[in-house]
Amino acid sequence: MSAAQVTTPAAASPAVGRPASPRPWRRTRGSVRALGWAVPPLAVLAAIFLVPLAETVWQSVTDQDGAFKGAAEWVRVLGSAALLRALGTTLWIALLSTTGCVLVGTFLAVGLSFVPFRGSRLAVRLLEAVVSFPSFILPLAFGILYGRAGVLNSALAGLPGSPHVDFVNDVPGVVLAEIAYFTPFVVRPLLAVFGQIPRDLLDVSGSLGAGPLMTLRRVILPAARPALAASAGLVFLLAMNEFGIIMFTGAKNVVTLPMLIYTKSIVTFDLPAAAVVACLQLALSLTVYGLYRALVRRLSGGSRAAA
């Protein structure tokens, strides 16, 4: 068959890299000048962020008077059960919140994109607005609604046997509030991705005999996978670092690393110990952040090569 042998190689050829600059010396000189421009903002960032972080690290190996004392503080803090528990709680809450956000966010995004209803636009607006609200509004609301003296409990008290709910001041309350607050971070990129899926793709899938679940699993979700992975990474990082929500739930037994840093430095004034925990948290956050950025770069790089 003659027609089959006719191919257009241009369409199949891999993406061509950016051509080299014809005059590299000029580029270098330009870069040097540009780097000069970068000095003032970098200096500000160093003064208010990088140096303080470095001082925190230094603090962890010095005593209250500023004299170097080695890793003694590290040994003490790392050996404490409280730290390990806090580390476990932090990761556990972050994991639960991320899972919840991914599930709820995917459901919301799929529903809002493919089963739109009157008011779905309003729902999207609401989701976007929540991000600019203070995060503590959710634990505050949960406290009002489901707290020990909250609306639900006072309503339940009238019922026979006076049932009682009490989850707000514990891990479930924190996780629920974090899911509510961070879900928009999953929904927004997914809505963008789903908006790009041609309707034809869904129609054709249906005409080939696929039911809604198969279309979801084999067509919609594969398209969402990169965005989903990236936003899951982001939510995990945010949940790990979250402080306001946990603070507001007032849960005494939910001690995450940020809470531990807060109590050690503000409540018990054990600054060296706080510094050690901060260093740990810093290392953890930066690792997760590094993985997140690598993931985003790989995924966006992959899609660029595909384009």
């Binding site: 459901f107 503590f136 509004i137 505050l140 009002i144 306001g244 940020p258 810093l282 956050s285």
Partner: protein, 265 residues
């Protein structure tokens, strides 16, 4: 288009509405209602009152609002100035230098607010710069925390800037500074406005770093709200939160209007 069966569509719609309501609708509504509730012992609040709101606007609280406003304005303007500058520098630099600038300016978003607060406490509690106990340390804390968001917003827009425009301006004999003020900044103005709005909103609600560093004389509204909630005065806290959101939305509206006007010009 995905669901052809009417009942399945209806079921999904109901589920969507229920999830959205439980997740966000009911909580936000509860806060709004609680702000006006004298008591709330049934399904609906009772004894509607403006007392909480009056309390939220009392002299003591007005000071907190004023502190929050000042801190958020100064911090967000500072953060956007530094962030936009860095974004422009990163765009000019290109290559490896740009990647380094980009990574470094994104860092503050990855570090927990409490760690930022602790760092500032550690760094500024002793000479050469003793800021502990001043308003400045609160401003610095919030600036640091929103810097990455300000940078990210402007850098995203700068990335999409057509270099041909700048080259054209350059070929017409405009100096780099002139190009900056007549071409780049006007084109980036919308994103700078957006960055300012985002930074301001984040500052207004900031708690983690602020609570680490604030002096008693410079107490922001979120800290006051936390104190109320911690005492169990949830209705008062709700009223204060409502005020906080109202003030934030008002300033955001103002920024949006200014932005609209400059864009027309």
């Amino acid at each position: 288009m995905l669901l052809h069966s009417r009942s399945a569509r209806a079921a999904v719609k109901v589920a969507l509405v229920v999830v959205l309501a439980l997740l966000l609708g009911v909580p936000l509504l509860a806060v709004a209602l609680a702000a006006f509730a004298g008591s709330w012992n049934g399904v609906w609040p009772s004894d509607p009152t403006l007392a909480h709101l009056a309390d939220a606007l009392s002299a003591d609280n007005l000071a907190s609002i004023s502190v929050s406003l000042q801190t958020a304005l100064v911090s967000s303007i500072g953060a956007v100035a530094v962030g936009a500058w860095a974004a422009l520098a990163a765009r000019s630099a290109r290559g490896r230098a740009a990647r380094v600038i980009d990574a470094v300016f994104h860092l503050p978003a990855a570090v927990p607010s409490v760690v930022v607060g602790l760092g500032l406490l550690t760094a500024f509690s002793r000479p050469p710069l003793t800021l502990n106990g001043t308003a400045a340390i609160v401003v610095i804390a919030q600036t640091t925390l929103v810097l990455a968001f300000a940078y990210n917003t402007v850098a995203g827009a700068a990335e999409g800037l057509d270099p041909v425009l700048e080259q054209a301006a350059g070929s017409l004999g405009a100096s780099p500074v002139r190009v900056l003020f007549t071409v780049r900044l006007p084109l980036l103005l919308p994103s700078i406005g957006a960055a300012l709005g985002l930074a301001f909103a984040l500052c207004m609600g900031e708690l983690g770093a602020t609570i680490m560093v604030y002096p008693a004389s410079w107490r922001t509204l979120p800290v006051s709200i936390f104190a109320l909630a911690d005492r169990g005065s949830l209705f008062l806290a709700a009223a204060d939160t409502l005020v906080l959101i109202a003030v934030t939305v008002a300033v955001l509206g103002l920024i949006a209007r200014l932005r609209g006007r400059t864009m027309v010009r």
